[in-house]
Amino acid sequence: MIPRIYIPGDSGALALGAEKVAMAVRAELAERGIEAKIVRNGSRGAYFLEPMVEVATASGRVAYGPVKPSDVRSLFDSGFLTGGHHKRWLGAPDKIPFLAKQTRLTFARCGINDPLSLDAYKSLGGLKGLQNAVAMAPADIVKQVTDSGLRGRGGAGFPTGIKWKTVLDTTSERKYIVCNADEGDSATFADRMIMEGDPFVLIEGMTIAGIATGATKGFVYIRSEYPHAVATMNKAVEIARKAGVLGVNVLGSPNAFDMEIRVGAGAYVCGEETSLLNSLEGKRGVVRAKPPLPAIQGLFGKPTVINNVISLASVPIIMDKGAAFYKDFGMGRSRGTIPIQIAGNVRNGGLFETAFGLTLGEIVDDIGGGTATGRPVKAVQVGGPLGAYFPRALFDTPFDYEEFAKRDGLIGHAGITVFDDTADMLKQARFAMEFCAIESCGKCTPCRIGSTRGIETIDRLAAGIEPEKNLALVTDLCNTMKFGSLCALGGFTPYPVMSSITHFPEDFKPAPARVAAE
């Protein structure tokens, strides 16, 4: 048997040197005259172990990581092709605690095989959900998705099945499925990992959505900051077309569905669904007022399902294993699993898919292992740049849509950024306003002007100018933005600002007092 060596081609692994490792492995193979197959898999998401190289041995996969190019020679010397011991030896990948503790439903296949091998996809349960769907009535597919309790993983948490039902029930000669892959929130990379590591699951999910709602055309709108995801998705769509997964007869059925990959152009606000639709239409990415809902008048005025990558990629397993199977995971009204992305200043950073319900403390301390710098955790921002900063005092909050809302926060796209005790929360609050000012589409006044006035007022606070008056002004401004903005950009920017002020008041004291206190 020719040895198989797996070296991730995921952009996170590439950023940590996977390409140089692959070159070193190839050179070493050539020098030693060994014949082996190098497979470029996706990432399993344990980025603190990337580049994680795996070899297929008689007793299963053995992982090594994090591998540096300078480790490669000694890996060969240690007999790593047969799982030999080495200082980078990690053992069976599914026994690595960070991975073993997860419940992988959406990410079941991500990082295991060549993402562009449709055979590998099928060998691990791929296309079973679509096979079931083509034999079902659209209303039954919608019911199964509704019954699973799946809610939009993009951030808003709206029930996916209900959205689909609206599109199904709206009569039109043309309908669209739009996948929102404009993953702009800092701390999030789940969409990127799926597109780079298991693209067919997204294609399968979108095709099921098309059959369920009567839509025949799909678009994936991917941000331009993700060139690797764009390349992988384009290749995967081509392969799926050739294999008859996409086309006029999906899997040989009378259902037609095809899709195109589109690339954004560096506007954060295009992650908002209505501005994404405008962008796809070739317009400025300006937010639309709702109603009309996109489900009734969406892309080019036609009924449109617009869902996040993870929502759509979770559909195949629901159609494969059933609504009850998926719904059994989770807590309260948050059903199923959620891929939590642990990021920033954290020792064990990466993607951790698990049922809803872990506490923030378990995620940060037990799974994340505390900060990378070894200093105490000061704050954790949950939900990206529009999410609240949580102090340690709130680490008992369970990861659940409603529980986070109760504490004036949101789980958003489930990214969490850890900060150590050197973080200055006034600076973070200022950045939230600054980011809103840079990325505002300009349509509504609270967002467009409020963000700039917010920066100025926080600057006055920092300079110790009339602190009480300016603090009251920021609070009032946040209130206006929260209730007066058209979309989540202006409407949620107050979350990071107000949570910083509420939970870390010492950072907002006038400068002389801050100096004296240190």
Partner: protein, 159 residues
């Protein structure tokens, strides 16, 4: 400096791109990406050709081009270095990384060195948030920036 194509040449190449892509649903963004790929920026001379080809007003095309951060009015340097400045990277010191690189290159964000070798830009998230601080050099991703990697980047852009 790179030679700028004449406006007639821009017009004819733009017209060819439009002809190729105007059958797409919502063709404007794909066309603008293709034009930027072709010329390294979106030249002013291309705008009336696009407006004419897609039956839009010049104001509409101008509005779209200027809305998106990606589309450049002028060509970038030979290299483009994007430094992530979003929260996850902030938590790992992206501020000081940016300050160091700005100082070593002698330019700020959105500027190009006087020899045209490199353009420096901020980016708000590369999706490498568990590998912070991160950067992108000419489309190649780089994570966990440290002094050694910064030196490598600078050596590459100066060569």
């Amino acid at each position: 400096m790179t030679m700028q194509p004449a406006s007639t040449e821009i017009a004819s190449r733009t017209a060819a791109i439009i002809e190729d892509m105007k059958g797409l649903e919502g063709p404007l963004l794909p066309i603008l990406h293709e034009i930027q790929e072709e010329f390294g920026h979106v030249p002013q001379a291309a705008l009336p050709v696009i407006a004419d080809g897609l039956n839009l007003s010049r104001a509409e095309v101008h509005g779209v081009v200027t809305f998106y951060h990606d589309f450049r009015a002028r060509p970038a340097g030979r290299h483009v270095l994007k430094l992530c400045q979003a929260e996850a990277c902030q938590s790992m010191g992206s501020d000081s990384v940016a300050a160091k690189i700005k100082q070593l290159l002698g330019i700020g964000f959105h500027e190009t060195t006087s020899d045209g070798s490199v353009t420096l830009e901020p980016v708000y998230c590369l999706g490498l948030c568990a590998c912070s601080p991160s950067a992108m050099l000419d489309g190649e991703v780089i994570g966990r920036l440290d002094d050694e990697k910064i030196d490598e980047i600078l050596a590459e852009v100066r060569s």
